[in-house]
């Protein structure tokens, strides 16, 4: 049954009992109603609500309500620049698309994980090369990758994860060790036993994830399964970006490493606009701006970072605040469907509380899902749901309650 009312439709279920089995098979499976031809002439099932539901399911699975998350991450991006990255099935080439995605990812990563570090390792000609060391500056990584966009030879996953493992083993234990492999190739040419390398990563508590560009590869699946990572394969350029971006929010913490620990941080002040100072990150004389380390008074250009002189972690308070939402997420909105939708209060909830657009209801002309916030009971559309959970990180309904008088109500 691919039609909209799949589980809630009690009456249809009753009626079905009297039907002959074969009749019911047709009645249930009215899939022809949802068919549409796609560009290659193949029939495909199109059901907006179903698609939206699936996407929400995926998001919900990733954002389980009360899991502990690692806020301080050390992640190596393993970028495959082997021969396969030059293929043109993505425009302009896989490599170009990957570079764009990486750029967006790096920014988003530091945005969501202000206290984390990232480095880039490239795979080409059968070797793995450390392009940038772990650091907190997005620009360095982006620049370095842009400057080295050339592809050649084979990829070796073993070399890459071995190199990353060697580097990640040196970082403090409170941090979360991760690698994210963006893999264009379909095979890996390794000098040794890759299964052994996978085992060592697992032992070193490194979470390895892979985003593939072409197809599911057994060894990548194994690597992710063994190390608790996530494996996905992109179907298009935009899908690729989505998949890579999915790795920006902090991952759930593996149970065994979930020990709370304290970390020292500094909140630097913005330097005076007219002061001239030598910045420690570039080693240049800079005019104005920048931030001053509260500990050693060195000047850095960007936040967040680690002070190059005293090694203190330097963050700004908004950064820290942004990290919070991972710890206190907006509750997952519930879907209202079928009969539950027609509880007489429809007139009250014709419009989305977020954007004031029309909401779908049975028989209505708008298709899609209708969602409700479990705390404030306001109704939202699909787009607002995404926006609230992925970007805004607080619910307009709940916010307006707390700003008005009914705050005690909420506490009950």
């Amino acid at each position: 049954m691919l039609s909209v009312e799949d589980d809630g439709d009690v009456e249809a279920e009753e009626a079905g009992r009297d039907m002959e089995a074969y009749e019911r098979a047709y009645a249930d499976d009215r899939s022809w109603e949802d068919l549409q031809e796609d560009e290659s002439g193949r029939l495909r099932v199109v059901d907006v609500a179903q698609q939206q539901r699936q996407h929400r399911k995926r998001v919900a699975a990733m954002a389980g309500a009360h899991i502990q998350r690692g806020i301080i991450r050390y992640l190596y991006l393993l970028v495959d620049l082997s021969r396969a990255a030059g293929e043109m099935d993505f425009r302009p080439s896989r490599m170009g698309v990957v570079a764009n995605c990486v750029e967006a990812f790096v920014r988003e990563f530091f945005d969501q994980n202000p206290l984390s570090h990232l480095g880039i390792i490239t795979l080409h000609n059968g070797v793995a090369q450390c392009l940038t060391d772990l650091s907190g500056s997005p620009e360095t990584h982006i620049r370095a990758l842009r400057a080295n966009l050339e592809c050649a030879g084979d990829a070796s996953i073993q070399n890459a994860i071995d190199l990353a493992r060697g580097l990640l083993c040196q970082i403090p234990t409170y941090a979360h060790r991760e690698t994210l492999l963006i893999f264009s190739a379909l095979s890996t040419c390794d000098p040794g036993d890759i299964l052994e390398a996978v085992r060592r990563c697992k032992d070193a508590n490194i979470r390895c994830s892979v985003v593939g560009l072409a197809a599911e590869i057994y060894i990548c699946k194994l690597l992710c399964e063994q190390t608790g990572g996530n494996y996905s394969v992109a179907t298009s350029e935009t899908h690729l970006k989505d998949l890579i971006m999915e790795h920006a929010p902090p991952p759930p913490v593996l149970a065994e490493s979930a020990v709370a620990s304290l970390v020292r941080m500094g909140f630097p002040q913005r330097g005076a606009e007219d002061a001239v100072a030598l910045c420690v990150c570039h080693g240049e004389v800079k005019m104005g701006g920048g931030y001053i380390c509260p500990c050693c008074k060195a000047r850095v250009c960007e936040l967040p970072t680690e002070c190059h002189i005293c090694g203190l972690m330097l963050v700004s308070s908004p950064h820290l605040a942004r990290s919070y939402h991972h710890l206190f997420p907006v509750p997952h909105f519930e879907e209202l469907e079928g009969t539950a939708m027609a509880n007489g209060r429809e007139s009250e909830f014709k419009l989305c509380y977020g954007c004031q657009q029309k909401l779908p209801f049975p028989g209505g002309e708008v298709s899609g899902v209708r969602l409700v916030c479990p705390r404030c009971r306001q109704h939202f559309c699909y787009d607002c749901d995404l926006y609230i959970h992925e970007s805004l990180h607080n619910c307009p309904g709940c916010e307006s309650i707390s700003s008005t008088s009914s705050l005690p109500d909420l506490q009950n």
């Binding site: 049954m1 691919l2 799949d6 009992r17 089995a21 098979a25 249930d28 499976d29 899939s31 290659s40 002439g41 193949r42 179903q50 995926r58 396969a84 099935d89 084979d154 996953i157 379909l186 095979s187 890996t188 040419c189 390794d190 036993d193 890759i194 299964l195 593939g212 072409a214 197809a215 599911e216 590869i217 057994y218 060894i219 990548c220 996905s232 394969v233 992109a234 179907t235």
Partner: protein
């Protein structure tokens, strides 16, 4: 779960059942109710075995009169899989029924797989293990051993004779391994124990040969009552098995060996005349009474009876002219001499049994009736002469097999004598082939003897051809599709290369460099787009050698190897096993590999390339049989004249089933996914395509017909990406692919 089909309670050991399994049971039950034969096609990966087992054993529970379930498999490996399923089923039945559950199941195989004697079991071939065992257990050996402690016997056999034969065995499922362990524990011979257990078992699993091959079957099958249900699993090649079972090849070496055997026999006869003339006389008397008397011989001495022989021959007495041992030997000498003469020929000769018998009569004075008895007469003689190393008498046995077959059947056979191999005309290698043309001959006794015979496989299309080939009337013949939660099968028909020129292995095109290059480009593009394992099937060894060579010269092979390692099937079993092993390893570690293999070869028949071991299979060309082969020509003619089966229909049917068999190796379960490329323009023709099994056809969209290399590459890429997405294994929403007990109850009311 437990559910009802009409009034029958079916015990099915799993929580859920696929809809096609349920339907399969319905049809099977109808066939059993009607006490008739049936043909059922259901793709691999849908749990055919457990469906069959659970319905039939449930049927046995209800109908006490019903006989055993005889489950025939092709290989020992398949046999073990069936027994494993049976064990699950037994555990479930016991849980549900307690003491009521009566299941006694066992696997039966030759001594080679069951013997536990430390020396004998170490012998290499089946024949030598048989002979080794006979040396220790023949009645006369044991008789001497009673007085002479130096004569070696088999302790396990003695143990079995002492206690095993009368012991009551606990119920359960006995695999070959269990039998061996059990035998070791008790000190009983597992082989004889298993044969003894058959009469108490209600499920017996063994090889096709035990029912079809007169050289192996016999006593064992003879014990089975009429009410038995016989299942032939993976039976898509059953006609070929039948034909092989009744075909004999005689070469120069065979005849030379036979001559040696005969002089050895003569010596033995002389020896016995002086030492134990009584034995020979006793045999003579026995022969006068007829072969049926053989039943009185001790268990280890009986030879396997020939079920292909009409029953009356067993009641007849052996013709007078071969009753005496010397006479029989000189009769055989004449026969061997005659055959040697025939092998001398310079050109190919081909004739029917009748004309062969005529010339045999006129030139060597050998008549048909006598020939018919050769097989049994020889075994009786060997027994009388106390011959235990039967493997050494292989050659004369072969000649006698031939004689009996020629003497028995006057139609459905042809005798072809070729002075050299077609492919190597300069090397004289004469061979006399008695080839069976009619598959129904070997299986006829099975259909006649047993109440219900079930023929089933993943590929039996077109399903109406099998009843004609095997000459029987099924009460049910059905083909089932696979219910899938996603479109995990992607068959494609590729007709053109990237330059739009047609590709084919048709005779006039196969060596065209353009076609060779286009095939090469296809492979190259695909290995670049498909991860892990890719399997290629070629139409024959010689074609594979040729094209791989050309690819090598064109540099295509080197390019392929940049993407994946290349492994090749050879005619050497050990080498191929090693290649397969390394192929799997390359797939496991992410290096990726291609396996080149041959349709109709060992790999195509028995090796699974499931999951990442086979994401794509390319069938290069249509695997037609070698149509210049004389045996094939004779068979085609026979099929046309006897069964009105059109030559082309048969050839196409045979080629397409082989192709389907090859590509079917990549999908072994529903959670798997794989692509299949039929690379030949001829597949696009309706007459070929429509012969593919339904489960492939239902996924063959119009958009996947008549493709060129780049189009199929595009489809492949898209398919692989789609399959890599997470999916809901229980079937999104309610595309019903799993039924539970409640669902079935609803359907029944």
């Amino acid at each position: 779960m437990k559910f009802k089909i009409d009034d029958l309670t079916v015990y099915f050991p799993y929580e859920f059942i696929y809809p096609e399994q349920y339907e399969y049971m319905l049809e099977l039950k109808r066939a059993l109710d009607a006490k008739g034969h049936c043909l059922l096609e259901m793709p691999t990966g849908t749990g055919k075995t457990i469906t069959l087992l659970s319905l039939i054993t449930s049927y046995q529970l209800k109908h006490q009169k019903m006989g055993k379930l005889i489950y025939c498999t092709r290989t020992v490996h398949e046999m073990e899989k069936v027994l494993d399923e049976l064990r699950t089923l037994q555990a479930y039945q016991e849980k549900e029924l307690g003491k009521e559950a009566k299941m006694m199941a066992l696997g039966l195989s030759s001594r080679k797989n069951l013997c536990i004697h430390p020396q004998v079991s170490g012998e290499g071939s089946r024949e030598s293990v048989d002979a080794g065992c006979r040396k220790l257990t023949a009645s006369w050996v044991r008789a001497i051993a009673v007085d002479n402690p130096n004569v070696e016997t088999c302790g396990f056999f003695e143990g079995y004779e002492r206690d095993g034969a009368n012991a009551l065995l606990p119920q359960g499922v006995y695999t070959l391994h269990d039998l061996r362990t059990f035998g070791r524990q008790k000190g009983w011979c597992p082989y004889f124990l298993a044969r003894h257990m058959i009469q108490f078992a209600n499920v017996v699993v063994y090889n096709y040969q035990y029912l079809l091959d007169p050289k192996v079957s016999g006593i064992i099958s003879r014990e089975m009552e009429k009410e038995c249900v016989v299942v032939f699993d993976e039976a898509h090649n059953i006609d070929n098995v039948c034909i092989e079972a009744l075909s004999v090849n005689i070469r120069q070496q065979t005849l030379d060996g036979a001559t040696r055997n005969l002089s050895k026999v003569t010596q033995l006869i002389e020896k016995f005349k002086t030492t134990d003339a009584n034995r020979l006389r006793e045999e003579y008397n026995r022969l006068v009474e007829g072969l049926a008397q053989r039943g009185n011989l001790p268990g280890t001495d009986t030879w396997l009876a020939n079920p292909a022989l009409p029953d009356d021959i067993l009641r007849e007495s052996v013709p007078g002219n071969i009753r005496r041992a010397e006479h029989f030997v000189s009769f055989l000498k004449r026969l061997v001499q005659y055959l040697k003469g025939r092998l001398q020929t310079e050109q190919v000769e081909s004739e029917g049994p009748v004309s062969f018998l005529n010339s045999l009569q006129s030139q060597a004075g050998i008549d048909q009736k006598t020939l018919k008895f050769c097989y049994d007469r020889l075994h009786s003689l060997l027994l009388t002469l106390e011959v235990t190393d039967t493997d050494e008498f292989m050659h004369i046995q072969c000649v006698c097999d031939f004689a009996t077959l020629v003497g028995t059947y006057t139609r459905g056979f042809s005798i072809i004598i070729e002075p050299y191999d077609e492919r190597m005309p300069n090397v004289p290698d004469p061979v006399l082939q008695l080839s069976c043309l009619d598959a129904s001959l070997a299986i006829k006794p099975v259909f006649e003897r047993f109440q219900s015979v079930v023929i089933t496989s993943g590929t039996l299309s077109p399903i109406d051809l099998y009843p004609r080939l095997l000459n029987f009337n099924p009460v049910i013949s059905r083909s089932f599709e696979m219910s899938l939660t996603r479109d995990c099968l992607c068959p494609m028909i590729l007709t053109r290369g990237s330059d739009q020129l047609p590709v084919s292995t048709k005779f006039d095109m196969r060596s065209d460099p353009g076609v060779v290059r286009n095939y090469g480009r296809l492979l190259l593009e695909m290995v670049g787009a498909v991860p892990d394992g890719v399997v290629c099937f070629f139409v024959s060894y010689s074609y594979m050698d040729g094209i791989v060579n050309s690819w090598n010269e064109m540099g295509i092979l080197q390019e392929v190897m940049q993407h994946k390692l290349v492994f090749i099937e050879t005619q050497d079993v050990v080498e191929t096993t090693l290649a397969l092993d390394n192929y799997r390893r390359a797939c496991d570690c992410g290096r990726g590999a291609v396996f080149f293999s041959v349709a109709r070869g060992k790999v195509a028949e028995g090796i699974d390339f499931d999951r990442h071991y086979g994401r794509l299979v390319i069938m290069f060309g249509v695997p037609f049989q070698f149509t210049l082969s004389r045996i094939l020509r004779a068979r085609l003619e026979y099929l046309r004249d006897t069964f009105q089966i059109n030559e082309n229909d048969f050839l196409t049917f045979d080629a397409v089933r082989q192709a389907a068999q090859c590509v079917g190796r990549v999908i072994r379960s529903k959670s798997d996914y794989g692509m299949m490329i039929f690379a030949d323009k001829r597949y696009n023709r309706h007459d070929k395509r429509s012969k593919l099994p339904a489960w492939i056809l239902s996924h063959l969209r119009d958009a996947h017909l008549n493709l060129s290399t780049d189009m199929s590459l595009y489809i492949a890429r898209e398919f692989l990406r789609r399959m890599a997405q997470p999916y809901d294994k229980t079937g999104a929403g309610a595309r019903m692919t799993l039924l539970c007990q409640a669902d079935l109850e609803k359907m029944n009311t």
